[in-house]
Symmetry: C2
Subunit: 310 residues, 2 copies
């Protein structure tokens, strides 16, 4: 879009940290870029960047402006998608930021289902921890976010929540697999793998451990649930995860899960959210609606309640 060109340039300068640097990435001369910046600052009546000896940095006015630019671009994108929608072209793009637990099973299944109905809708799925997911919404880098136990920012609007009881994950031949529900003290007797502290599951566990006297001392800490799940079973290791991040038990999978008694660890909440006050593009809004329905089914089914079908 032509009339947003200059504003895009501002973002490029901000990313590059210098006018000359941004000019290179934009296939432009520093002259032209500098001229445009000066003209815009003139129109605005305030400098957008502070001039440093080694480049430029956003001024307070620039911070405001760049926020405006992002919101404006996102809104234009929504308008374009609405226009495409009323032309009958069911295309569009959805950008999702989500927690790690959603990546292996839930999101692929949901996106598959959606694209079966709307094949011309494209998707972008980015792993963002609970802090960065919310910041991505505000910066218009994601349309919707699906995060476990988020830090609730004021600028974020919750579309749906579903409780998720923490589950213990282990090999099928693990001694604990015999019990349908585990106490935290059961788990404490075996080698344990835990996600690192920025994750919601760990956050819930840390709270639970502070309240009770039981201490879980992790033998393995990782920021990858996939790694923790795949870590060889011979050690009889136990790891912890929420059910939405686990495969449905088909009775043959070498990995099984058992819920932790909720007297020990309370259920955490999985949040579906968007930026507050924003009108989503049609495709994103429709996909969010589908997710809401799916999450409600999850909540009614096996999500919050005890043992998974096994």
């Amino acid at each position: 879009m032509k009339h947003l060109e200059t504003l895009d340039f501002i973002e490029a300068i901000n990313r590059a940290g210098s006018i000359r640097g941004a000019a290179d990435t934009l296939s432009l001369t520093s002259t032209a870029l500098n001229r445009r910046l000066l003209a815009l600052e003139e129109e605005l009546g305030a400098p957008i960047f502070e001039r440093l000896p080694r480049g430029v940095r956003l001024s307070p006015a620039g911070e405001l402006l760049i926020q405006h630019i992002r919101s404006q671009r996102a809104d234009l994108e929504r308008v374009r998608s609405q226009i495409a929608d009323l032309k009958g072209e069911r295309r569009g793009h959805v950008s999702v930021a989500c927690s790690q637990a959603l990546l292996p099973y839930f999101m692929p299944r949901e996106i598959n289902a959606y694209r079966a109905e709307h094949p011309r809708v494209t998707f972008e799925v980015n792993l963002r921890d609970r802090y960065r997911a919310e910041r991505a919404l505000v910066a218009h880098q994601a349309d919707i976010a699906l995060v476990f136990e988020p830090v609730r920012l004021a600028d974020v609007q919750v579309l749906a929540t579903v409780p998720q009881q923490v589950h213990a994950v282990m090999a099928r031949n693990h001694p604990l697999a015999a019990k349908p529900v585990l106490r935290l003290s059961d788990v404490a007797g075996y080698p344990i793998g835990l996600p690192s502290e920025e994750f919601g599951v760990r956050y819930l566990l840390d709270i639970a451990m502070r309240r009770s006297s039981i201490q879980l001392t992790p033998d393995i800490v990782s920021d990858s649930f996939e790694f923790l799940r795949c870590y060889p079973g011979p050690e009889m290791m136990v790891t912890l995860q929420i059910p939405i991040g686990l495969p449905p038990d088909d009775g043959r999978d070498p990995i099984v899960s058992r819920p932790i008694d909720r007297r020990d660890v309370p259920a955490g909440l999985l949040y579906l959210a968007q930026m507050r006050g924003r009108t989503l593009p049609v495709a994103a809004a429709n996909f969010a609606r589908q997710l809401t329905r799916s999450l409600e089914r999850t909540a009614a089914g096996d999500g919050a309640e005890g043992p998974r079908a096994s």
Copy 2:
């Protein structure tokens, strides 16, 4: 602002109803305007106007676009005002849409008070009935609206409400002026002046009359409260108004007001509102905050309760 020029042109074409007509008002050739429109439609991938033999008319896509343009311009204005604000310049502009009752006393007093603190803030006050006030908010033609008994649109966000009991207004020597509180049946015995049907006071009265058996047959109907208030008193006429639209009784004013018993006519609500989801410019936000405080004082004082000090 340079990059919004083309979008302004779209609005001009929409207003004029034809490209050539808009070109005249913009001091441009129809050629240039036409070219820009075609280029924009190309970029957008859809026609913005339907071509009629006698001019042009907004297409559905154009409706969407023009709404986007307005919101974009309003948002840019907010950014500019925020930038001016952090430069220490306490200037800005506030656009208010309000009911007739607010015009003679309340709004002048409030704006005076505000400008005493912030002399460089300019104001625009427009009379809008309760339908048009809300549409003005959505069309970004007003920052805030102050209306009595509005039809509540979904896109409008309520900032404050204050109940207003309907008062009867009459000459000081009117027989009814002797009673501190009037029943509707008292009023029915005298010549009556009523506001026309689009006004909130009339709306409340019509409801009250439907519920009871008392019928007020107006001798004068007007869309001007000022006219009704000034209509010569010799006729011993009674008219109806809400207290915020009446002068404080200083004991000498030839016009006095008495509340109607709330068993007959329930109190209506005065709403302070803005467009839902919009972030107001600093000046408008501050003024809205002042109004909220003033309205709360009004509610605590003489607004909802019985007789005014007299």
